[in-house]
Amino acid sequence: MIRLRAIRFKYNSTYLLDGLTFHVEPGDRIGLVGPNGAGKTTLCHIIMGLLKPESGEVEIFGKQRKVEGDFAEIRGRIGFLFQDADDQLFCPTVLEDVAFGPLNLGKSPDEAKQIVARTLESLQLEGFEERLTYQLSGGEKRLVSLATVLAMEPELLVLDEPTTGLDEETTQRLVEILRESNLSYILISHDKDFVQKTADKICEIKDGTIRFI
Amino acid sequence: MHIAEGVLSAPVLATGAALTAGATVFGLKRMDYEQLPGVAVLSAVFFVAALIHVPVGPVAAHLVLNGLCGLLLGWLAFPAILVGLTLQAILFNFGGLTTLGLNAFNMGAPAVLVGYVCSFGLNSANPAVRTVAEFSAGAGAVLLSGILVACSLVVTGESFQTAAWLVVAAHVPVMVVEGIVTVFIVEFVRRVRPEMLQGYA
């Protein structure tokens, strides 16, 4: 699905990523670990086209991706969960926020509402439609953010620190949701236990490159 | 300073509303959708900053920061200020609905003007020039706002002349504080996130 080759990315005059090569195949469930500031989030932003590497190749779904337009095509197919749910949830109500992605993909308002209902149900968030996003608890915000991503029916999920600030129960729910889904995903986490439970492969980013451990 | 409801005459209110409508539409035209969250979020910061009461001798004044708003947002300061005032009017009943247009003009026009004029000195290599530009932006915008409020009162009726003078006088200490605070804020932003000073204008 994803092939990154010889990626170099400069941050403050040093190379954060230096000749990094990374593949994701269908069915992969990859845990991405590494020290703070190693470039985990940067790598994910490069996959999503939010950051452009200085050199190297980004191939996603069998096609080279270089300019903004190339990445616009893939963004519905790769769901990206941001570190801070407040960045992701910008609409007044949960309904509008979860519907935002499907509407952008060209669904009609009625279809979008159905998708919202279905997605919320699958996460046991029935009846959340009219809740105000800024009044949700931390755990609810995280699950609703996940709903906004899942509503686009992505083929691959990229999750950036999904367990930060979550209590044990919500973390456990997230583990179950991920295990029961048949999605491929890449997740960044410092939570060793969470990574063990959810990932089949674990990679570490260190000194600008990546290796499986 | 917000002018309350029921003070000003119809022509003054109508002129203010028309000018604000025009400037807002112009500002919105210059803002693309990708800039929208940035403008809105800065507008929210200015809203929150207005809740800060800084001591000025024995009394306290709340921060206005419309000069800073002009420096950072240029023309987009107009819609940003209108949005902030609308929310203040509905949430706290500061200002009002009939005066919304005029109040937005009294705050927004100085913001855009000083933002434009002072942007020339903003990125000067000479720290003294920068300080002068920043101070004049902060102080100038508040002074001009005070003068516009006073003018709105005087045009409405002669009996408001004394009130108008008092308004301008009351803005003078606030103006100094605003100037100082604006200098510090801009220098902070310059060190931490200099790209914010490139401006939207």
Partner: protein
């Protein structure tokens, strides 16, 4: 931040179509603001009080809001009666009191209280998001509507950050005074909020792009006027027209 305190409630005013509420408030405010007779203004104040009663909202909170507004009107009472021109009707100490000034101060007091009460009763009883949705159906430009949405949404986040920073300053012994240290500290506080918010807005845009944003927002909420809404709309226009006639 105590906001939207009047929005929860079950009165018929709470259930009114927000478009009717906005239109009625604007029409009423303009009629009252430009009124020129004390009788008409008293009638307007009475009408506004009826609305507040009908909305069944906490009177204590309403009075607190009025107190803030009346700081300004009290200031006018100390000023206008002594600075107006025309015929003096008496003296207070060495100062002459002018009838025209008293009349003006009285009228402004009545008008501003009537309008504020109406805004509280009609607009305060709807959530901001509902009002802004209504504005989007009333011809307000799309970009302005979304500025309001975003601004209100992130107001809460930024206010929370502000609260945390202020606490952090306090526990380190910060006491506001009239000095440069105070001004610098507040400036850094605002500067920090600005920088964080700027960074946040970049992440918001990125998150929007990841969900396929293509320069278009969609509004999912639509309102249907019920018969009661038409009746209420008609009533408010009759009331506004009635105020115009009172001299």
């Amino acid at each position: 931040m105590q906001i939207e305190e009047f929005a929860p409630g079950e009165s018929f005013i709470h259930r009114m179509d927000p478009r009717v509420k906005i239109t009625a408030t604007v029409v009423f405010s303009i009629v009252v603001a430009l009124h020129s007779s004390v009788n008409g203004e008293l009638a307007a104040l009475a009408l506004a009080l009826v609305l507040v009663l009908a909305a069944r909202i906490g009177f204590g909170s309403v009075l607190r809001r009025l107190a803030v507004v009346n700081v300004f009107t009290v200031f006018l009472w100390f000023l206008l009666p002594f600075t107006a021109r025309g015929e003096a009707i008496g003296t207070v100490g060495p100062l002459a009191v002018y009838g025209e000034g008293v009349d003006q101060a009285l009228q402004i007091t009545l008008k501003s209280n009537a309008i504020v009460l109406t805004v509280i009763a009609l607009l305060g009883t709807s959530r901001i998001f509902v009002l802004v949705h209504a504005l989007s159906h009333m011809g307000v430009p799309d970009k302005l509507v979304h500025l309001l949405f975003f601004c209100y949404r992130y107001l809460h986040v930024i206010h929370e950050e502000y609260g945390k920073l202020v606490k952090a300053m306090k526990v380190r012994g910060f006491i506001p005074r009239t000095d440069l240290h105070t001004y610098r500290s507040y400036a850094y506080l605002v500067g920090m909020l600005l920088v964080r918010s700027f960074d946040r807005s970049k992440r918001i845009v990125a998150a929007m792009k990841c969900r396929g944003f293509k320069d278009r927002f969609y509004i999912l909420h639509h309102y249907d006027m019920r018969r009661s809404d038409y009746v209420l709309a008609a009533c408010s226009f009759v009331a506004a027209a009635g105020l115009l006639v009172v001299r």
